[in-house]
Symmetry: C2
Subunit: 267 residues, 2 copies
Amino acid sequence: MTYQPSSEAEGAFLADYDPTAYPTVALTADVVLLTIRDGQLSVLLVERAEHPYRGAWALPGGFVGPDEDADTAAARELEEETGLEAASDGTGRVHLEQLATYTAPDRDPRTRVVSVAYMAVAADVADPVAGSDAAAARFWPVADLAVGLTGNEDPEAGVDLAFDHERIIADAVARLRGKLEYTTLATLLVAEPFTIPDLRRAYETVWDEQLEPVGFRQRMVREAAVDRIRAIGDTEAGGRPGRPAALYRRGGHFFLDRTFPAPGAGR
Amino acid sequence: MTYQPSSEAEGAFLADYDPTAYPTVALTADVVLLTIRDGQLSVLLVERAEHPYRGAWALPGGFVGPDEDADTAAARELEEETGLEAASDGTGRVHLEQLATYTAPDRDPRTRVVSVAYMAVAADVADPVAGSDAAAARFWPVADLAVGLTGNEDPEAGVDLAFDHERIIADAVARLRGKLEYTTLATLLVAEPFTIPDLRRAYETVWDEQLEPVGFRQRMVREAAVDRIRAIGDTEAGGRPGRPAALYRRGGHFFLDRTFPAPGAGR
DNA sequence: TAAATAGTGTCTTTGAGACACTATTTC
DNA sequence: GAAATAGTGTCTCAAAGACACTATTTA
């Protein structure tokens, strides 16, 4: 998209343009990587090694470089922390999509910083590596974070979050909860191959609601018939009591035709 | 949200912070106001009076001031152009929500400009007024814009759009089309009070698909029973042949329990 | 064999498509 | 009365909740 001035006058205008004519802001891309660890919906956080908010936990992210766009910066940050390579169409192992942009003038005490936040969803993420400006990196269960995310009302609970990152995480969790209703995004929360009970447990974890196993299964069998998930014709290996479950992989469609009914809808 | 440095060291850090340490960008808020005019889904555009893209049509918008956030700037731009006051919860006459943020490094030929785009939805918008930096302002039918929005493949068709605004408009139209499936947003595309056939025509206009009048009505009667629309117990005035339709207003809920089935789903 | 988990069959209710039919208006 | 539009009744099919029942594994 190289811009061709449409006239000499426009070329002259651009040559004379003063880029300091309007106030400017610093631009960061921050990633909310959501995954299920030990049966809990969890988010990747890094412990800040530098001021401001030194010692607090923050979303992985960083400044958008002069020659990259925010999507690229977010994918780069995600890859640096986890080794995961992103895709936004449900084909890869990670789903990465722009969540929202946070622009409050005082959200960063240093200077005006605007953050383009991304939601990433993946299963089986390796233990993260702390980047150069981080003291540590780990997954935190979302339920262990402070008020407002899962109804956790204990003000002493949870970790100290930097900037407005609690709000960003809450928005990402809400987006994920909503998208499970009308996409196959839950298939990215489980490692392939997965079973229908695996998928049900992923829904239950994100929604914090029990689902009817039989109803869930019948719905998923219908979804498999239209290639939203795909049976691989094999069953899981034993190792636990009970009949082994049939194995599936992700199918070729991302959006559902009908919402998957979350219990207690009616918002 | 005034930030309290947690230590003297942090206070000293902030006092010494050099805000030019990272590259900065200019920040704009642009508004895609969608409405139905003369039976066509239309978008508010302004004709640029200044370079760059002088004479091209662009979304209303402008730089975000140093003490405002992008939401406020978008609401201000919308109010300046149309006199509409925004609400994001479905209670007001206008729905305004953040759409996405556009960050390609070369999207503006002047300097790096990042645009936080908003989607606004309203009915019965008065004729717009051209702002100071606009030669004109008017609604354009989305179908008259160039390729990619409604399957219009004629390269000669449509108006010359500035920057990446064609893409932003396409994203807003896609968002609106999607949201009609799981929200009552269509009720903001019709003036109150409205009839069920009015609402059906709004869906048909946005989706560019005919809907079954009987099925649509039965669905809306069910939605009325749970206060997503609310009968006012009166019927429209005559003036045309045919039985007068019952009148409704918007109800107290924004989200639907089940998707409204768009014809030709199965994406 | 008991316990545990996956999966099937069947009944009932509800929503949605199809379509014949009725209701209320203008001309 | 004809034309036009809104609204009802009814049949059929598919999806979802409930729940009894069967299947396959470990210990």
